[in-house]
Symmetry: D2
Subunit: 356 residues, 4 copies
Amino acid sequence: MSSTYGENIRLSIFGQSHSPAIGMTLEGIPAGSRIDFDRLYRFMERRAPGKNEYSTARREKDMPEFISGLVGDTVCGAPLTAIIRNTDTRSQDYSGLRVLPRPGHADFTAQMKYGGAQDYAGGGHFSGRLTAPLCLAGGICLQLLAGEGISVIARIASVADVDDEGELSESLAEKSFPTVSDKRGALMRERIAAARAGGDSVGGVVECRVLGLPAGLGDPMFGGMENRIAAIVFGIPAVKGVEFGAGFSAARMRGSVNNDPFCVRDGRIETLTNNCGGILGGITDGMPLTFRVAFKPTPSIARAQRSVNMETLEEQTLEIRGRHDPCIVPRALPCVEAAAALAVYDALLGRKKEAR
Amino acid sequence: MSSTYGENIRLSIFGQSHSPAIGMTLEGIPAGSRIDFDRLYRFMERRAPGKNEYSTARREKDMPEFISGLVGDTVCGAPLTAIIRNTDTRSQDYSGLRVLPRPGHADFTAQMKYGGAQDYAGGGHFSGRLTAPLCLAGGICLQLLAGEGISVIARIASVADVDDEGELSESLAEKSFPTVSDKRGALMRERIAAARAGGDSVGGVVECRVLGLPAGLGDPMFGGMENRIAAIVFGIPAVKGVEFGAGFSAARMRGSVNNDPFCVRDGRIETLTNNCGGILGGITDGMPLTFRVAFKPTPSIARAQRSVNMETLEEQTLEIRGRHDPCIVPRALPCVEAAAALAVYDALLGRKKEAR
Amino acid sequence: MSSTYGENIRLSIFGQSHSPAIGMTLEGIPAGSRIDFDRLYRFMERRAPGKNEYSTARREKDMPEFISGLVGDTVCGAPLTAIIRNTDTRSQDYSGLRVLPRPGHADFTAQMKYGGAQDYAGGGHFSGRLTAPLCLAGGICLQLLAGEGISVIARIASVADVDDEGELSESLAEKSFPTVSDKRGALMRERIAAARAGGDSVGGVVECRVLGLPAGLGDPMFGGMENRIAAIVFGIPAVKGVEFGAGFSAARMRGSVNNDPFCVRDGRIETLTNNCGGILGGITDGMPLTFRVAFKPTPSIARAQRSVNMETLEEQTLEIRGRHDPCIVPRALPCVEAAAALAVYDALLGRKKEAR
Amino acid sequence: MSSTYGENIRLSIFGQSHSPAIGMTLEGIPAGSRIDFDRLYRFMERRAPGKNEYSTARREKDMPEFISGLVGDTVCGAPLTAIIRNTDTRSQDYSGLRVLPRPGHADFTAQMKYGGAQDYAGGGHFSGRLTAPLCLAGGICLQLLAGEGISVIARIASVADVDDEGELSESLAEKSFPTVSDKRGALMRERIAAARAGGDSVGGVVECRVLGLPAGLGDPMFGGMENRIAAIVFGIPAVKGVEFGAGFSAARMRGSVNNDPFCVRDGRIETLTNNCGGILGGITDGMPLTFRVAFKPTPSIARAQRSVNMETLEEQTLEIRGRHDPCIVPRALPCVEAAAALAVYDALLGRKKEAR
């Protein structure tokens, strides 16, 4: 099933870019949990469009309406459902996509799968807009995790060829462009501006950490934290890679370097290094859970591109009109946090079943 | 749930390194499917230990016994269950692990999760030995896929700092060390031998391709091919990263370079490049599905390592006895093929439901 | 998870009696399927309140708004989501229920489960109103089944002590009180009127048949058609029993009478009798699938009842104000049809995966 | 998927009547749980064949071998897998079934579903023998429930036209023919003997109670205790009906009689009657959970029956050789207890997730 995630919670996301509304249902949140809506909306605003020079001009209120699951601000046990109206849905902009698929988008594969029935307007269900309900659900889990002393933080680790510097150790949520090094952040923004000026786009990497996790979360084999996080993170459009801890670098290391030696700190077993990203055998070891997510450059670019008319099989040149984010990484960052929060909260509920 | 995978098939893996047996149950294989056992066992032998200088000396028959699901060599509709006896299970080698966890292994996290009830002998359910039933299940799917013209091929893309050269285009299954370039393969083996000589180990990367896939497999969002493949591949021990197509490299590209232009070849819509790894919006586009999997170096090394006695909280030095693979990548390669086959076959069955 | 059903489709129902809206998400309907909305709304009206003397005076438009999954009237592949606004939600009528649970309702058990966080207004998520989205989803499946020559028909088999007469063989959908025998129907209505006059209520039985089913649907063991149908039918409030074919009567028969002998009719293998209700080993045999569903009498009655104040633990007398259906069976009947349609359609999609 | 059950535990049953072995995998049992094997085997013996005059002469050791999930007698966290060898598998007795389906059995529907690939020997995966692993899994849950003060008891409520008398209030596990009234039990045995003498068989009803349950177990809608129990109980061969509390009788009652008034006993809220079977809104109310299960008469009878040759479409007379239970109810009774234990234990684990 396409749009459902979770074992102990169940998230279901619905809607298309230009359907009457988008939204989500989240089951499994314990009754009695309270939601801080101001905080939730502030979190959601971090992925909202139209906020700065790097994002699309599409402006929407994007205020969710909770239609199920609450009494006041308290979760009542019924499934939590919220919808967000699509108010700015000029479908005519997309009529050309019906036959001429955009490279890097799902237009062609949707046609192959749905045989013409797909909603091609604005990318339909494949639109990045569908990350709004993901952030809504994840934002709720972030609050519940905070109540257990667990926090999720992220940074832009790279944009194009520019890497951030310094260690990620506390939340950068207040920053509009969340890098540890402001200088590096400025360089990244130059790369984005240059891409935009050239009718082009750039990709980047988001690094995410979950702090305050107890050891013992997750399951062996297919229920590992890596499996759970990857299974949701690849649901964010444009993600093409996920690595945990040292990740692909570990593949170039020797075991004597990559293995994280155990030590005792403050009467607690920790590891001296954290190349494993806080996960051994799929299960958290109590160190920060760390992972990195690769985003491809925005596929919508102003430059002319080669495509093929799906009806006539003629090769044609495609020009995408409208304004598009030259780099989605800043807006994708809270989506990664949301995804991590959902995966971790799910595992946390699973942990409760194991207590004897 | 830890050890279950699949939506249209359901794979369940059971057993511990030193329990009476390990095995798997696979539900959802269409009745009437025939299994070529010779071919299946040949496939499984590719991951078997004790085959060459790079693998452990533990030798077992590892012949599966099918106890359910077959009439002769034909799938009858009941769940397919096969078991593999553990015949060489000297638990005494592992008695020290009860209190002194091995760095890079699940000993510590299993203790945190199971509170001492875990089977620490040989890594228990976390043992690499559990990939034998994975290969058993995947080997069956490989045969079923072959019947639909779909093949899964893989190579060792790198070991330590040595990268393979050339393009992966056909099966290297006959090679005992499957690299495209034999010269590079020889260099990699040198790295492995050097690591072993130094009481150390090395990691590497496996690259996998699925050829002959129809366009239209997979689902949007959490049901994407990336999500499905990642969710199973991270179930192979020591995997720390997965990337599709250009993966992390795409994050450094511009959109105009990374986007794969559509073209017509032999009357069929294809893409000129394949940076997306054959997947757009989670759905196959008919080009080869390509992904790369990062394996950390074998955590079991001969060198002394720092650990902590979990009972006394004293820091101690740990020396791991016994022989261990200085590089698991050669034996992990068929596991990646098996995992890919399972994920793809599951998606293929899902596709059948969509036909009207 | 409470409110989710299905293996090849996935139905998720949300909302409370007095939340802003109720609704459903249905995944897995093949793209390109068309919905006849007039027919769908006519079906939904059969369970709508306020239609006749036997149902509550609560009047609502109950017109669903589809917010996801459609392009025009065609399913586009995204999850189908529809919401129905709650417009007549006078919560004050229910304020007493917070501490004084109504016998036969979920007020007490919801308090035990949710610890006071539950939405007690109108029964919250337990309200019979939540069968509206069930009928919405089921109504869609009914149309898709009709396209395959499969129909679902039902009758009121009994109300109180009055049984219907005659064999159910064609749809009674046009009847406002669907019994085969009008005379028996009139008697049942007398029983309902008498109950109402006495400030009381009556229960009854709905009999349902699925016609035109191919042989071979369903799975052995926990995937049997009985399991699937029971698992959804008990989701309709007030259902306390389900039996297939001869059901509980079979338990009093001899095998020589209960066994359905095979015969050939029109060149096709059928059975002479149908005590098995068209299901053997969980799998359809091509005869009509028949089952009966027992509904308890409406728990909301005008008469004074004994209850206990959950805060003070004092026994108190409860009087339920407002008007309530003295018999829910007529409105429950389309819910049974909807549930059957969902279960059967799910099994039908499952069948497609088995084709080689 | 056919043979899998559970949300918080996952039970998977495999094997055929005449395959090398049958067995089960049970995931989700908390590590550290201890199994009393003597007690488990005593429970399993209650459904074993060949014990008395009412059951088949097929005698097997039926001793399970645990191949995964244990260290000694303690659950270690890996999936629990046990197999039971099939040692008495004379397939020649069944060769005729390939073309001539037995009335009341799954021979015909299996042919329709599996197209000839099914294992027809001994009923294959549809055999009542597959209830042995069900009892194995359920027996483990019964022990875990007992540790929480929860017990599951059952009786033969009726055989043919003879009903038991008296109230079921304590375990009848010591009785070889578990009725409350020994006199009624003797009458039932007469009916069974008479059926056998006439080459025929009889059905019956099993009543089951779960005592000691906390209030608050189960979920609304499709996650109700009725849904969960029905979904597993219909997995026992020959079950054709399930009712909770007053069940089908409730459909003939008035609300004022059927509603269970709340009262206070020993400082605890209870109900004066228990027509709801301890379940309101799908959730336990703390009273005994009661349900009844209808079993059809054994379909294998000595008398000649009408059948149809599936190859030639000729109507033929079938005579079933071999000895068969003239009444399966006594052996089915522990299966009902096992099924109840699995469903309740699953719900109990689910309850743990809800705690804040």
